[in-house]
Amino acid sequence: MAGFLQQVVEGLGAGAIYASLALALVLIYQFTGIVNFAQGELAMFSTYLAWQFTAAGLPFWLALVITLVVSFAGGMLIERVIIRPVEGAPELTVVIVTVGLFIFVNAAAGWIWSFLIKDFPNPFPEGALTAGGVSVGYSTLGILGVVGVVMGLLYLLFQHTKIGLGMRAVASNPGSARLVGIRVGWTLALGWGLAATVGAVSGVLVAPLLFLDPNLMGGVLIYAFAAATLGGFDSPVGAVVGGLIVGVAETLAGAYVGFIGSDLKIGVPLVIILVVLLLRPRGLFGRAVVERV
């Protein structure tokens, strides 16, 4: 039983990281109806920035703050420059543009920092809390804590500030939002900035566990897709719950299903995506899309 709980705890730790990247995906989808295939790569790029700052001698937390600010600005810039021209274009165009962004950012990181792997400093202390035969690593606790804080801040932003109210208005009806005086274009850019920031958090959290290289987020992105699909692409709460479920499911499948083992775990998100799309395409918390023809 303790062994099982141990796996669940580790799954939650992994799930928190998927949740944060899924949250970034959902933020953008909510505002623009775009699934940003480059989200993981943007997070990877931010992580490299953080690495660069720490390598330059800045203390970790200061480097993180600077990285988040830069990511936010970068996200807004990308919306303004790259996504703006294809706003409202057919899905195919938008997907291809984000895939282009994916290839570009990945290669640009390889160009700047080379494809050699780098060690990323772990911000959390070594060691673990042990209770009832289950040991919880401080880094797992730290990850859960950070993701919790990010969630809380986003909740406050959306529910209790005027900017958040404006953002919700844009997400629900851009046309009417514009009529009541909300600057829709800037709000969309704000959404991209927020998403890039949240994504950067996930990159910084995952980098110490894996190694930092330009393909850092490739695998994580698929888990995040599964999380967002499971939770519903238009529900931030769903993204977090979905992320945790995917993390736990993945860890349990790897530990208890002999055939899957550690190398085929990447099949778990694929199965989750397929099952959810076939049985309940809107996800656990999503709204069903009704199309008027």
Partner: protein, 343 residues
């Protein structure tokens, strides 16, 4: 008849016929001449070039076959696949395993690879039919990512991470060709057949149904197009072409490993198609040239340069030339013709 199938706008812009008409196309009665000239050129090329160039052009043709399949799905049916590298890999591995484990004759591997990829495409096409564009892209990308570990797992059959090394097909003595030339002609023959068959498929009612689905799914359904049938068919057919390309790859390279068919391959294929020209006849060929030569040229600058070039070009193409190189060439030819006429 052929005009009606071709005179549709780009799949990625909601342009009306007016803009599409401003592009110059190879006139229908010239087309056999152009194709014949290209074929003569293609047949004489291997006798003029050094073996390495012949090999490169063989790879161009292989990519062109894969892109032909992807074009059918993305350019003509409007479904997004980020996982065609997986079908390519399935074709390559089907052929490799047959050659390695059973010593099968080379010609037998092609239909089997095609059939395996077609069946897989059909099986995946059934759920794919229910997925809207975005989700299909997600699922196919997940499949492409999943395939690598899967291939590594079944080590006894696939050779695991080390892959399988195979002998290349020997040219028959009567041809008097060198190995690279023989492989080139085999690939050329398969590519020509693939282009002809797919071309006529697209000019038939199937092609018109696919275009209808691409342009407006709901309207197509109202017009009596069976969505599930045509979407599954296009998915399976395009998987089959990718599988055929994979089989040719095995013949030509003589080596398969999971790392040759990563997500990068899938994404590169999509990039090549977009730059070559979505939904156009010449797009896959131009895309094949692009996929083959841009990396080998730009790699001399930096290992990452191909990715930077690909990424920027895709985005740029989406903005300024949604019909890709093929469309750009057509538009350029049209304006030259117009300027000439004015004078």
């Amino acid at each position: 008849m052929s005009e009606s199938a071709e005179a549709t706008g780009s799949p990625v812009t909601k342009e009306s016929g007016g803009r599409a008409a401003r592009r110059w196309r190879v006139p229908v009665h010239w087309r056999p001449l152009v194709i014949a000239a290209l074929l003569v050129l293609a047949c004489s090329a291997p006798f003029q070039l050094v073996p390495f160039r012949v090999f490169q052009f063989t790879m161009v043709l292989i990519y062109a076959v894969a892109l032909l399949g992807l074009n059918l799905l993305v350019g003509h049916a409007g479904q997004i696949s980020l996982g065609h590298g997986a079908f390519f890999a399935v074709g390559a591995y089907s052929a490799a395993i047959m050659l390695h484990a059973w010593d099968a004759p080379y010609p037998a591997t092609l239909p089997v690879a095609a059939a395996v990829a077609f069946t897989l495409g059909l099986a995946l096409g059934v759920p794919a039919v229910r997925l809207r564009g975005l989700y299909l892209a997600l699922v196919t990308m997940a499949i492409a990512i999943f395939l690598g570990p899967l291939l590594k797992r079944f080590e006894s059959v696939t050779g695991g991470p080390m892959g399988l090394t195979l002998a290349k097909p020997e040219p028959p003595a009567w041809t008097g060709l060198a190995e690279d030339q023989w492989l080139y002609f085999l690939t050329l023959a398969v590519a020509v057949v693939a282009f002809l068959v797919t071309g006529s498929l697209l000019r038939s009612r199937v092609g018109r149904a696919l275009h209808a689905i691409r342009d407006d799914q709901a309207a197509a359904e109202v017009m009596g197009v069976r969505l599930s049938f045509y979407k599954t068919l296009s998915f399976a057919w395009s998987a089959m072409l990718a599988g055929i390309a994979g089989c040719l790859y095995t013949w030509v390279i003589g080596y398969v490993s999971p790392d040759s068919f990563g997500v990068t391959l899938s994404i590169t294929l999509l990039a090549g198609l977009v730059v070559g020209g979505l939904g156009s006849f010449w797009g896959p060929l131009l895309g094949g040239l692009f996929v083959m030569f841009v990396p080998s040229i730009s790699q001399s600058v930096n290992d990452a340069a191909p990715g930077v070039v690909f990424g920027l070009l895709i985005i740029a193409v989406m903005y300024v030339a949604p019909t890709g190189l093929a469309g750009l060439a057509g538009r350029a030819a049209y304006s030259i013709k117009k300027t000439l006429r004015k004078e």
